[in-house]
Amino acid sequence: MFDYIILIPLFSLIGFLLNGFLGKRLGKSFVSWVGPGSVGLSFTLALKLFLDLLALPADQRVIESITFPWIISGDLQVNIAFLLDPLSAVMMLIVCGVGFLIHVYSIGYMHDDPGYARYFSYLNLFEFSMLVLVLANNFLLMFLGWEGVGLCSYLLIGFWFEKKSAADAGKKAFIVNRIGDFGFLLGMILIFITFGSLNYLEVFETAPVLLDVGSGLAVAITLLLFTGAVGKSAQIPLYVWLPDAMEGPTPVSALIHAATMVTAGVYMVARCHVLYLLAPFSLSVVAVIGAITAFYSASIGLVQNDIKRVLAYSTISQLGYMFLACGVGAFAAGIFHLMTHAFFKALLFLGAGAVIHALAGEQDLRKMGGLKNHLPVTFVTFLIATLAISGVPLFSGFFSKDEILWKSFSQGNPFLWLIGIITAGLTAFYMFRLFFLTFYGQPRFDSHRTHPHEAPKSMTIPLIILALLSALGGYIGLPESLAGKNVFEKFLAPVFEAGTHLESAVHTYSHSTEYSLMLMSIAVAFIGIITAFRFYLKNPVAAEKIKTKFATTYRLLLNKYYMDELYDRIFVKPFLNLALYFWQFIDVQIVDGLANGSADFVAWCSKVFRKVQTGYIRNYALSLALGVVIILTYILTR
C-alpha cells in the first residue's frame, strides 16, 4: 500500500495539467470538479496511508518508497522517492486536508473571476509541490518542492497581475525568497560534500558519527539551511515579503501564506533536527530569531488597519513561536503549533475572505464594523479562531502555545519565555481589536451601497469544519499535567528521539511550576482581550488618546518600523545602481566596446586586403609566383 505514496502528489499534478491545458476550454464546472476533486483524492489516500501507518508498531513507522532513480551522476544518486514517517504524515494530512477545504472554499470565492481555470491550475500545482516537499526522502527532491511552492506563491500573489501592486508583491516575494533559497542550496551542497548523500536517513544516520557536537561544519550546514527557512517562513530579516503577499486572493493567503507553505521552514528545521542538535549555536540562533520575530511582528500587528495585513503579521509572529519551539529543542511542540495554527489561521483568513467578499472587496478595518448579524456563520467561526489564537483555555491554540512557552522556560531560557508571554498578550490584543472592529460597533461602511450577505455554502462549510478543528484540535496534544496523554508528542516521538540523547541535561521542574506558568499565560491572554474590549468597544476615545500620546511610537509601528524604506535604501537602491553601472559602463563601454572594436578592426582589415584582389590575372600570377619563390627560398635555406 505504501508504494502508492507517489499518487498523493500525482493526483494534484494531474489536476494541474487538466486545469492548465483544458480548463479554459471545458468550462467552470469541469474546473470546479477537477481542482478540489484531485486534492480530495489525495486527502482520502493520505488518510488511508495514515491509518496504515498507525497500525504499525511505533518503532516501524518509517517507510521509504523508492519510485525510480532520478539523477545518477558519479557519486550523486538521487531517487524520486518518498518518506512516510509520523512527521511527514502529519504534514501530509495538514497539506491535503486544509488544502482540500480551501480548494472548496475557492469555488465560491473565485466564482466570478475570469481567471478561474488558471487559479485552480496554480493551486493544484502548489498542492503538488507542497506534497513533494513534505514527502520527499532526500534534500534535492525537497528542494524541488521548495522551489515549486515558491513559484506557485509568486504566480498566485501576482494572480491579478494587471494590478501593479500585485505584480510587485509577487516579484518581491520571489526575490526575497531567492536569498534564502541560495542559502538552502549551499547548505545542501555542503551536506552532499560532507556526507556523500542527500538521502535523509543516510545523512541523519551518519551525522552523529561524522560530526562532533558544536563542530563548525554542523553549524555551517544548519545555519545555511536555516537561511532557507528564514526566507520561506518569513522570519527576520527576510520577512518583508509576506505582508505584501496579501495582494493575492484571500484563499491563497490562507493556504500558502498561513497554513502550509510558510511553515515549510519549520518543517525543514524539524526534519533536520539531528543536524541542529549537533550545532547548539545554530539552535540558539533559531530560538532567538524566532522569539524576536514573534514579538516584533506582533507589535506591528497592533496598529495595522488592513484586515489581511494584521493577519499576515500575526502569521509571522506565530511562525516565530514555532521556530522558538524548535530552537529550544521542542520540535514536537513546534509541529503541534504548526498544526493548530494551520487550522485557526486558515480559518481566520477564510473568515476575513468572507468579510471582504460580503463588503465587495473592502479590506480596511476602519470601514467595517457591526457585521455580527449580517454574517452569523462567519462571526461564530471567526470568534472560535480568535479565541484559539489568543490562547484562551480549552481552544487548540492554548495547548500548543502553552506547550511552547513551557518548553522554552524549562529547556531554554526564562528570557525567551518572557518574550513569548508578552507576545501572547499582544496577540490576544490585536486579534480582539480586529474582531471587535469587524463584527461589533456601528457599521462604518456605506450601508446604502453595500449590503453585506453571508457567503455561499461552499464557503461556509469549510469555515465550520475548520472551526471544529480549531476548537478541538488541541486535545490530541493535551499535556500530562492536565491529565492528558499528549498523544501527538508520543506519535512524533520516534522521529525526534533519534536526537534526544544529544540533548543537554533537562532541568526538571515540578508540575506546580508548570501550573503557575500556565495561569500566567491565561492571565496575559485575558488582559489582552480586556484591553482590546475597553479600547475598541467600550471606550474608543481611549484608543485615540493613546494614539496621540504615543504618536511617535504609533507612527513607527504603523509604518512597520520603516523597515521597507530601510531595505530600499540599503539593498535595493545600491543594488540597482550597481546593476546600472555594470550595464551602462562595464557592459556597454567595455564589453561591447571590446567586441565591437575587434569587429570593426576585422572589417577594416577586410576592406584593406580586398584591394589586393584586383581582378587582373597578371596580379594573380604574380602572387602565385611570389608564393613559389618564398616557399622555395624557405625550403632550400632551411
Partner: protein
C-alpha cells in the same frame, strides 16, 4: 616473342571504368536526343554514379593494388571516391532546373569526366598518375566554368581558371620532373627510400609539387582565382568545384605528403603551418567584406581549406581521419548552401547579392531553415556536422602538439560567425523588399536541399557512425 599480358585485377579500377563508360555514353547519346528527351541525360549520369559507387564498396578493407601502386584500392581511396560520387550526385540534382531548360551538350559528361579525374587523383601513389588525374579533372572544369557561353562573367571565370590552372600545373609538372631527375622514379613508394632525399633539386621539386596542389585546394597565396571563378561559373558548377576538386586536391596532398613522404615531414610541415594560418585568416577576413553571396562562399571555401590544412599539419591517423571527415561534411554543407542560391537564383535574375535575401527566411521558412542549418554548420556551431568536424580537427591538432594552430583555428571560426550569421540575420530579421525574390526550385533541387540539410544535422547529432568509418581510412592505407 609472345606478349603476355599480366593478370589485371579489374576490381580496383572498376569504378573508374564505369564512370568513363557512362561519361562516353552520355556524351554520345546527347546529339541523338530530341530536346524533350534531354531529361534522360541527368538520370543516366546519376545511374552511372550509383553503379560506380556500387563497385567501390567491395574495395573497402580489400587492400588491393595494381601496377605497383599506380592504382590503389585502399580504404582512403574508397572513401574519397564515395565523397566525389556524392558530390557529383548532388551536383547533378541541383543542375536540374524546373523551367524545363536542360543543360545541353556535354555538361553532364564533363561532370562525369571531372569526377573520373578526381577518382584517379585519390587512388594512386604515382606522381604521374596523380598528375594525369588532376588534368582530367581540371580540363573538364575549365570548360564547365564557362558553360554559360552568353554570360561574360562565366567567360571570364573560365578564362581565369584556365590561365591560372595552366600556370600552376606547370609548377606541379616541373616539380615531378625534378624529382624524377634526382631519384629516377615517380612512384612514392620507391622514391621515399631513395638516398637523394636531401638534395636541393629534390627539395625544390617537392616545393613545386606542394605549390601545384596548394593551388588546387585554394590556399593563400594561390587562392586569387577562387572568388572570380566561383562567382562567374554556373552555380551548380561552383558547388561542384567547392566540393569535389577541393577534396581531390586534399586527397593528393594527403597521399603525397602525409602518407607517402611522412619521413620528410620536417621539411614541409612548417610551410603547411604557415599556409594554414594565412589561408584561414585571409579567407575569413575577406569574406566579411563580400556582398555577393557566391563570392562570400568562395572566401569561405578558402578559409575551410585552411581548417583542413590544420589536420594535415597535425598528421597521424587522427589528422587523416579528421580531414576526411571534414571534407565529406564540407561537401554536404557547401553544396547545400549553393542549392539554396540556386533555388533563389533561377529565371534570369541571379539574386546573388546579400540584400536580395532580406526577409526570405520568414517568407519561405523551409528554405530559410535549411540555409540557417548550413550557415550554422559552416561556422561550426553545434548541433551540426560542421561543429563536429571542426572539433575533430582541432582535437587532432591539440593531440599532436599543434595547440597554437588549434587556437588560431578557433579564433578564425569566431570571425567566420560574423559573415555566416549575417546571412541568417538578413533572412530572418530584415523586411522583405517588394517585389521580393520568388524561389523556383525543382523537385531535385529540393531533394538535394533536404538530403544535405538532414545529413548536416544528422551527422552533427550522431557523428559516431561516420567517424568510425573515417577512422578506418587509416587502416589498410597503402603507400
Amino acid at each position: 616473342m609472345p606478349i603476355t599480358i599480366p593478370p589485371i585485377d579489374f576490381r580496383v579500377i572498376m569504378p573508374e571504368i564505369v564512370i568513363t563508360l557512362f561519361a562516353c555514353l552520355v556524351m554520345l547519346l546527347e546529339p541523338f536526343l530530341p530536346d524533350r528527351r534531354k531529361w534522360i541525360l541527368p538520370h543516366l549520369s546519376s545511374l552511372g554514379v550509383f553503379v560506380a559507387a556500387y563497385f567501390c564498396l567491395p574495395l573497402w578493407n580489400s587492400n588491393l593494388l595494381l601496377w605497383q601502386g599506380q592504382a590503389l584500392g585502399d580504404n582512403l581511396a574508397v572513401i574519397f571516391k564515395i565523397i566525389f560520387l556524392l558530390g557529383t550526385l548532388l551536383t547533378i540534382l541541383i543542375s536540374y532546373l524546373k523551367s524545363g531548360h536542360h543543360w545541353g551538350g556535354e555538361y553532364y559528361s564533363l561532370i562525369l569526366f571531372s569526377t573520373l579525374g578526381m577518382m584517379i587523383m585519390a587512388s594512386s601513389s604515382d606522381l604521374i598518375v596523380i598528375f594525369l588525374g588532376l588534368e582530367v579533372m581540371s580540363i573538364a572544369l575549365y570548360v564547365l566554368a564557362g558553360f554559360n557561353r552568353s554570360d561574360l562573367k562565366s567567360n571570364e571565370s573560365a578564362m581565369k581558371y584556365f590561365l591560372m590552372g595552366a600556370f600552376s600545373t606547370g609548377f606541379l609538372l616541373y616539380g615531378i620532373a625534378l624529382i624524377y631527375g634526382t631519384t629516377g622514379s615517380t612512384n612514392l613508394n620507391i622514391l621515399v627510400n631513395n638516398p637523394h632525399l636531401t638534395e636541393p633539386l629534390f627539395i625544390t621539386g617537392l616545393g613545386l609539387i606542394l605549390v601545384g596542389l596548394a593551388f588546387k585546394v585554394a590556399t593563400v597565396p594561390f587562392h586569387m582565382w577562387v572568388p572570380d571563378v566561383y562567382e562567374g561559373a554556373p552555380t551548380p558548377i561552383t558547388a561542384f568545384m567547392a566540393a569535389g576538386p577541393k577534396a581531390a586536391g586534399f586527397a593528393a596532398l594527403l597521399r603525397v605528403f602525409l602518407i607517402g613522404l611522412t619521413p620528410l615531414a620536417p621539411m614541409w610541415i612548417t610551410i603547411l603551418w604557415i599556409l594554414a594560418v594565412l589561408t584561414m585568416t585571409l579567407g575569413n577576413v575577406l569574406a566579411i567584406a563580400q556582398m555577393n553571396i557566391k563570392r562570400m562562399l568562395a572566401y569561405s571555401s578558402i578559409a575551410h581549406a585552411g581548417y583542413i590544412l590544420i589536420s594535415v599539419v597535425a598528421g597521424g591517423d587522427d589528422g587523416l581521419s579528421s580531414s576526411v571527415f571534414y571534407l565529406l561534411v564540407y561537401s554536404l554543407m557547401t553544396i547545400g548552401s549553393f542549392a539554396v542560391i540556386i533555388a533563389l537564383g533561377e529565371k534570369g535574375e541571379k539574386n546573388e547579392e546579400l540584400p536580395d535575401y532580406r526577409g526570405l527566411g520568414l517568407k519561405y521558412p523551409l528554405l530559410g531553415v535549411c540555409m540557417t542549418i548550413f550557415m550554422v554548420s559552416l561556422s561550426g556551431i553545434p548541433p551540426t556536422a560542421g561543429f563536429v568536424g571542426k572539433f575533430y580537427i582541432f582535437s587532432a591538432a591539440v593531440k599532436n602538439g599543434q595547440l597554437e594552430l588549434a587556437i588560431i583555428g578557433v579564433l578564425n571560426s569566431l570571425i567566420s560567425v560574423y559573415y555566416y550569421l549575417r546571412v541568417v540575420v538578413i533572412m530572418f530579421m530584415q523586411e522583405a523588399p517588394s517585389p521580393s525574390v520568388v524561389p523556383h526550385s525543382s523537385w531535385s533541387v529540393q531533394l538535394a536541399l533536404w538530403l544535405t540539410a538532414m545529413a548536416t544535422l544528422g551527422l552533427g547529432i550522431f557523428p559516431d557512425i561516420l567517424f568510425k568509418i573515417t577512422q578506418q581510412s587509416w587502416l589498410f592505407t597503402l603507400r
